[in-house]
Amino acid sequence: MSKVKPKKQETFIDMTAMSDVTVLLLTFFMLTANFVPKEPVQVMTPASVSEVKIPEYDVMTILIDPKGQVYMNLDRPEDKRKVLESVGEQYGVKFTPKQITSFINQTHIGMPIGRMQAFLDLPLDEQDALMKQFGIPTDTIISANNQLAVWVRTAKEVNENLSIAIKADQSTPYTLVKNVMSTLQDLKENRYSLITTLKAMPEGF
């Protein structure tokens, strides 16, 4: 048998086109996407046909987890700083500049005010773990212990354009949501939105 020399195949695939596509996709994702905010508790919002979008700025989100822990978030760091200072004043707590920076870096407010200082001195990852066990203390009536009312009222004083959004897990018992709603009602905050995921409108409507 004669030895047939195998022809040396060139296995060079031109990746230029592929690269073009990926860069295009990447650009698309970078321009359209906004980051998922880190939340202390995982919340599955219920679905609804409502198509109203949440406002871009000046949103105060109140997060309620199935166990009834309440967290709050403000979207502007500047507001957060003012709110912390003002709430601290009302409770007679003075925060150091370092604690305030830590407060702004932490995404959510979710601590009883008495523990706030010690909490803010911890590094960020320890804060997350600790915050899961607490949440803002709430009460059905406006009292010294309803700190959610204090936070909401102060936030409204700092920035009166704030709109309020409630984000609660779908399995949260209604009583827990009612607590938050009646707190808001007591503060004369009657307009707020419930955050939901989009569900398609049923056929024929």
Partner: protein
């Protein structure tokens, strides 16, 4: 990996221009891009969350009964959101002596939606034509909004009172509010359970044992 091949190599004829084969391997570039795309896909949300706007009544206690909007009994329907995804409802005034006046239904199509559609047929039909008009671009978005709120808030439209019990979940409430949207009901309110409503539910669950005891009073 990335190779810039200069063709031939070795002995070159003097005087002839060097033939350059410039070919850059893009594979690592593609690898990196894919990695970045995956990262962006996992860490971002594409759409902003939807919201449902609600307006609650003020808790002013100095409102007298007359100041509050009196609802025509014939146009009112009261939903009681119960435990285990159950809904009880009654039309108009509650009838405490007859436990069958309270009925039970389910969420979504077939249950609650059918009842509301039946009661609110005119408004739903109007909304439907309005939406078709919008789809055909006969009316502008603003006109649509104006007209739809007109339909929803008609003078003697259907009124729904939603009373969530303590054993209802948040999902139940949102589902009920959602049906209001689907069935084009503009007038609805979330109201606290009263003692009478608790009695109605208990009476229904015990199949009239409570009202039999008290002799219908």
């Amino acid at each position: 990996m990335a190779e810039v091949n200069t063709g031939g190599g070795g002995e070159q004829k003097k005087g002839q221009p060097q033939k350059l084969n410039l070919r850059v391997d893009f594979t690592p570039m593609v690898d990196m891009n894919m990695l970045l795309i995956t990262f962006f896909m996992f860490c971002t949300t594409l759409s902003k969350p939807q919201t449902m706007d609600i307006v609650m009544p003020t808790k002013d206690t100095d409102l007298t009964e007359e100041d509050k909007n009196q609802v025509k009994a014939s146009k009112a329907i009261t939903l009681i959101l119960g435990e285990d995804d159950k809904i009880y409802y009654y039309m108009g005034e509650p009838n405490y002596s007859d436990y069958t006046s309270l009925k039970e239904t389910t969420y979504g199509a077939g249950g609650l939606r059918d009842i509301l559609l039946e009661r609110n047929r005119d408004a739903v039909a109007e909304m439907r034509t309005l939406k078709i008009d919008r789809a055909k671009k006969k009316i502008t978005e603003e006109q649509f909004k104006e007209k739809s709120s007109e339909i929803r808030n008609k003078k003697d439209g259907q009124v729904v009172v939603i009373k969530p019990t303590n054993s209802a979940s948040y999902k139940n409430l949102v589902d009920a509010l959602d049906e209001m949207q689907i069935c084009s009901i503009g007038k609805y309110a979330i109201v606290e359970m009263a003692d009478g409503d608790n009695y109605l539910v208990q009476n229904y669950q015990s199949k009239g044992a409570l009202s039999a005891e008290t002799g219908g009073r």
